[in-house]
């Protein structure tokens, strides 16, 4: 009986996903057509691409440099204007969202490097280690009734790179190859980063 119930649940899930899938398919195809139109100089298509992706670029940019919205706007501006100038020489990316987010990050890091010359970044390992000791004692579980609050706070305890990797994997749906390139590490490291973060979360969260 018990397994029969499970089956039923799955069928429901798959049917629901099927609808999403069909939407995704046409969406992706349409996006590629937009890209090609943009490359041939169609400003309307370019504008549509902007509208499709600017919200995600904004949230990703803000997650990297939350202190300055204006700076994030500047960087998005630079990415799109550069695209326009170089449009004829671009190839069609496999994943336009990934391509745009990657360009945005490159731009942000480039400008930050110029801007803050005194700032010497820690090595990536130093950085992750800083967060390694964050212990569960910080939270008195009984004070956090709200599960959402709890999980939010736990995610905030992860290292910035782990958080970034989680955002890219679980929200922007990038694969580990893409995440690796975003974080300038190899594929295995990207996977480990996410794995360790989720392992940690799981040990904290009562599921």
């Amino acid at each position: 009986m018990a397994t029969g119930k499970k089956r039923y649940k799955f069928t429901f899930l798959f049917n629901h996903l099927q609808i999403v899938k069909i939407l995704n398919m046409s969406y992706k195809k349409e996006e590629m057509l937009l890209w090609e139109a943009f490359q041939s100089g169609d400003e309307e298509a370019y504008t549509q691409l902007y509208r499709l992706h600017v919200k995600v670029m904004y949230r990703y940019g803000m997650s990297l440099v939350s202190v300055s919205e204006a700076f994030v706007f500047d960087c998005i501006h630079d990415v799109f204007t550069e695209l326009w100038i170089k449009r004829e020489r671009l190839s069609v990316p496999d994943n336009i969202r990934y391509y745009l987010l990657k360009s945005l990050k490159v731009r942000i890091l480039h400008l930050l490097k110029r801007k803050e010359q005194v700032y010497v970044p820690l090595t990536e390992e130093d950085y992750d280690n800083l967060w390694d000791d964050s212990s569960d004692e910080i939270f008195r579980m009984d004070e956090l009734f709200n599960r959402q609050d709890l999980i939010n706070k736990l995610v905030a305890q992860l290292s910035p790179r782990q958080q970034e990797a989680l955002r890219l994997r679980y929200v922007e749906n990038m694969d580990y190859g893409e995440i690796a390139s975003m974080l300038s590490v190899n594929r295995q490291s990207a996977q480990n980063l996410v794995h360790r973060a989720v392992e940690k979360l799981r040990s904290w969260i009562p599921i």
């Binding site: 499970k6 949230r59 202190v67 998005i76 501006h77």
Partner: protein, 380 residues
Amino acid sequence: MQKDYKSFTIVDFATDDAFLQHHLNPTRDSQSFWENWLARNPSQVEEWQQAQKLLEAVRLGLEDYTRTFLSKEAEEQLLNRILNTNALYSHGSTGSPAIVSATWGKIFAVAACLLIMLSIGANYFYGKKTEDSRTIYNRHKALLFSSVIEKANTTSQVDSIKLPDGSTVLLYPGSLISYSTEFGKTNRTVSISGRTMLDVVKNPEKPFIVYANELVTRVLGTRFEVEAYEDSKDVVVKVLSGQVSVFKNGTLTTEHKSEAEQAGVVLKQNQQVKFSRQSEEFNKKLVDSPLPVIQNTSQAPSFTYEETSVVSVFEDLEKAYGIDIIYTKSQLETCQLTASLSNEAFKDKLNIICKSIGATYEVVDAYIIIHSSGCKSLQS
């Protein structure tokens, strides 16, 4: 999808590309793959399901991120800015495509690209934004002055600048100051960006006015510091001596007559105000380490006491630092102090005094409030 999923744990599933791809963006292939796999591996169904829950939990924890909201207005504004820049740089190449050969087009594109990068780079090097979003500093500069003298500190050391009226400005690295060629004759107005410390020569007829981000600071003659970085959340004005008035600059026009009606605060020595650019609130308080105001040592109190009433000790402190101390005089009259406090910093002095009379103090806004229940041992 040739992985050995049989040994997969919950976390393994919940972090697996194929598993996540299927849940976040399913395709017909992924659907049939997992359907088949689950049918063949009933013992793993439990893990698989738990992984689904874990995935949901992780996504729940990322909601702060997912919900980052870009307003429609901001989206449109940014789009316009982008299209404007594009129009600016594709001007000329669109005119006669038949004549402009492909190679020239390319060279032009590369040159334009370089130009943009150079200008953006240069702007950022000076700690400012790109040309399109003209900074507040630049707007001030353009509005206030017809012909401008601008000094930028691009070194890593503090730079000292003498203004035509004899006032001096310490310009911190990455900071800018500009003023009109008329400075000192018709006005004493400067516009700054970054961190500066100003020592202003007294001239009651020509107030010295500083524009910094959203704030306008008006002084007669004094020493004070302004911190107004283009990208920081707050604007801070600290007064070292004298008195200044700080206003929010609402209109950014050359008419600053309405200043008196605008929200603002008056700052005395050892006070500072932090203006939050987001909430537009003024937060006035004492500077972290107050310094004595009286320069002339013969007038300055010695801070050496022998069985002196603590009331006159507080009076000395108020006089020397220009800080208001609030206490109940009748309560403290009987408290006496024997101490030498000439070398201690302001807050150390306060601590020692309060400890020896069994009182505590509190800093509220720019005031010190003394809490005490009097000195009973002496009364009895």
